[in-house]
């Protein structure tokens, strides 16, 4: 009797066990879904709504309109800022990746295996230190009393400190390159590392010049890596606020500064419209390059 009860109970226990395993295997999502749902998706949804609502007398009225977008595109300074943000992002990305490519090539071709990881970590170290401090540290170099001016005065090239290094677009581009170079180098290295160098040797044996071999054999093969590097440098630059704020002056204003200005002036609906424009642009880029991004784990430290 007891034996049969036991055998009857067995499948039930197994089933209960399985059900438990089911809950256990999905239950882990619940806290994350609450966190990201309530404090990431919901606020984004609110931003979407706000961008189509009106502000009347400092209060938001739930009246659907395209006025916020129309307003943004009607002020020429804003449109100029949008284009210059794109321009800064393109130039900084191009230079950062251009600098990162020879570096990654050197690291994977000329550096002995045992030294590669330490040297790579050394590139990433600044990246994991405070972002604010890395921007701030450039003030000590480019400022009027900065290292660069001291050097120029010491060398007798100029007698008065020059103010031209800071507070304009070139300073913004320089600091952005500095900030995002490690991203580019890391991503490019991880794809060049897998390249079979015999192919390059074969191409040169067949008469190709080294540069030709690099651009015809190596570059096409690591294209997905290059695309990933470009995306991962380009996208965060679009949302930059601190760099133009600290080193940019009036000439270096980017769209992130516009957004902050709108929100600090409590013009939430207008700020929301600009935020949504950037967010859509970024999500569009990500969707467009989803394929080449899915193969790369750019955050894998």
């Amino acid at each position: 009797m007891s034996a049969s009860a036991e055998t009857a109970e067995q499948p039930q226990a197994v089933r209960a066990h399985r059900r438990g395993a089911g809950i256990a295997s999905y239950g882990g999502f619940i806290p994350a879904i609450v966190l990201f749902g309530l404090f990431f998706l919901v606020p984004l949804a609110i931003i979407v709504c706000y961008s189509f609502w009106e502000t009347i007398d400092y209060s938001v009225v739930h009246h659907w309109t395209l006025d916020n977008y129309r307003y943004f595109f009607s002020v020429s300074a804003y449109v100029t800022t949008m284009w210059s943000t794109l321009w800064v992002a393109i130039v900084a990305t191009a230079i950062a990746i251009g600098l990162a490519f020879p570096f990654a090539y050197w690291l994977s071709r000329y550096v002995p295996q045992w030294l590669r990881l330490p040297l790579l970590v050394l590139v990433i170290v600044p990246f994991w230190t405070s972002y604010l401090l890395r921007v701030y540290s450039w003030l000590t170099i480019l400022g009027e009393k900065g290292v660069l001016n001291r050097f120029l005065q010491w060398a007798g090239i100029t007698h008065h400190p020059l103010g031209v290094f800071l507070y304009d677009r070139p300073a913004v581009i320089l600091v952005l390159i500095y900030l995002y170079f490690p991203f580019g180098a890391l991503t490019l290295y991880s794809s060049i590392e897998r390249f079979d160098w015999n192919q390059l040797r074969a191409a040169m044996d067949l008469g190709a010049s080294p540069l030709k071999a690099i651009f015809r054999i190596l570059v096409p093969q690591i294209m997905p890596g290059i695309v990933t590097a470009v995306i991962f440098v380009f996208i965060p630059i679009l949302g930059e606020y601190l760099t133009p704020q600290i080193v940019g002056g009036t000439g270096g204003v980017m769209i992130g500064n516009l957004i902050v200005n709108f929100f600090q002036a409590a013009e939430y609906t207008r700020g929301a419209a600009v935020s949504l424009l950037i967010a859509l642009f970024i999500v569009g880029l990500l969707a467009l390059f989803r394929k080449s991004l899915s193969t790369a784990d750019a955050y894998g430290a």
Partner: protein, 281 residues
């Protein structure tokens, strides 16, 4: 033929020298600003720049006695601890089903979890600002900043722990079950010890990210200061060696904790191996 090989190798040698020089310059470019920052924090010159007129700890002493710095440090630590706790628990819990469940929309969930680090922090900041102040009518405080930072740090914990789980040999769990362990026992005695280094690394990571986070905190913390916010408000009045000193300490803290995050898994593994060897011997 022999000459051709020689020419080629000479060319390769030139390329190697050129590229090595180039790489060295890159390292100078990457580290010069940070090194100078630290250097000037010990410089007696009170403009925080060259020339070096002598070495001093005055600026550190000043920073230590500044009540604003005290305030900022304690807020920063309080926020960082809460953020670390939330993101480690939430992130670790989410990593399990992300790697192990057989849901059809798993890759979609993965993208959803990683989205907060793909979207500029600025947008997280302003959208939460609207949620907290206009929708919930909450007062901004260090706690609202904690929520904002947790949205941004949790994905990193998920990625780290998920990577570890991916490499996890599941036959160990089956073996534990065969030997009579229940789910909880298997989790506590087999799974957790093995993924523990990744969880700790994730926690340390979250802690550093929180220490250094600026933009989300800037929007959500209200009248309070964390160290990065304090530094930012000071930068408006120009660089001072005192700010350099605060910045250097923040830098040292980040590097120390990151070093721990990378070293700890290695140490844990080494200790475990030593213990095992001692036991079997």
């Amino acid at each position: 033929m022999a000459r051709e090989v020689e020419v080629l190798s000479r060319r390769a040698r030139v390329a190697r020298v050129l590229l090595s020089t180039y790489a060295m310059l890159i390292y100078v470019f990457l580290f010069a600003p940070i090194v100078l920052l630290v250097l000037f924090s010990f410089n007696a010159n009170r403009y925080g720049t060259f020339p070096i007129t002598g070495w001093t700890l005055t600026w550190y002493r000043q920073a230590f006695t500044d009540y604003q710095v005290h305030d900022a440090v304690s807020t920063t630590l309080k926020v960082a601890l809460q953020v670390t706790l939330i993101s480690t628990v939430v992130g670790t819990a989410a990593a399990f089903p992300l790697v192990r469940s057989t849901l059809r929309f798993r890759s979609g969930i993965r993208i959803f979890f990683i989205l907060p680090i793909m979207i500029p922090g600025l947008l997280i900041g302003v959208s939460l600002l609207v949620l907290f102040t206009s929708t919930f009518h909450w007062k901004l405080s260090p706690e609202t900043a904690v929520i904002g930072q947790a949205v941004y740090t949790t994905p990193f914990v998920i990625l780290l722990v998920a990577a570890r789980l991916q490499a996890f040999d599941r036959s160990l769990e089956r073996a534990a079950a065969d030997l009579g362990a229940n789910n909880f026992q298997t989790l506590r005695r087999v799974v957790m010890p093995l993924i523990f280094p990744a969880v700790i690394a994730g926690a340390l990571f979250a802690f550093t990210l929180s220490l250094d986070e600026f933009i989300i905190t800037y929007f959500l913390i209200g009248g309070h200061n964390t160290l990065p916010i304090f530094i930012y408000t000071q930068v408006k009045f120009g660089i001072t060696p005192e700010v350099n000193a605060v910045a250097s300490m923040l830098l040292a803290a980040s590097l120390l904790i990151l070093g721990l995050a990378f070293a700890l898994p290695v140490v844990v593994r080494a200790v475990r191996r030593a213990v095992l060897r001692a036991r079997t011997a």
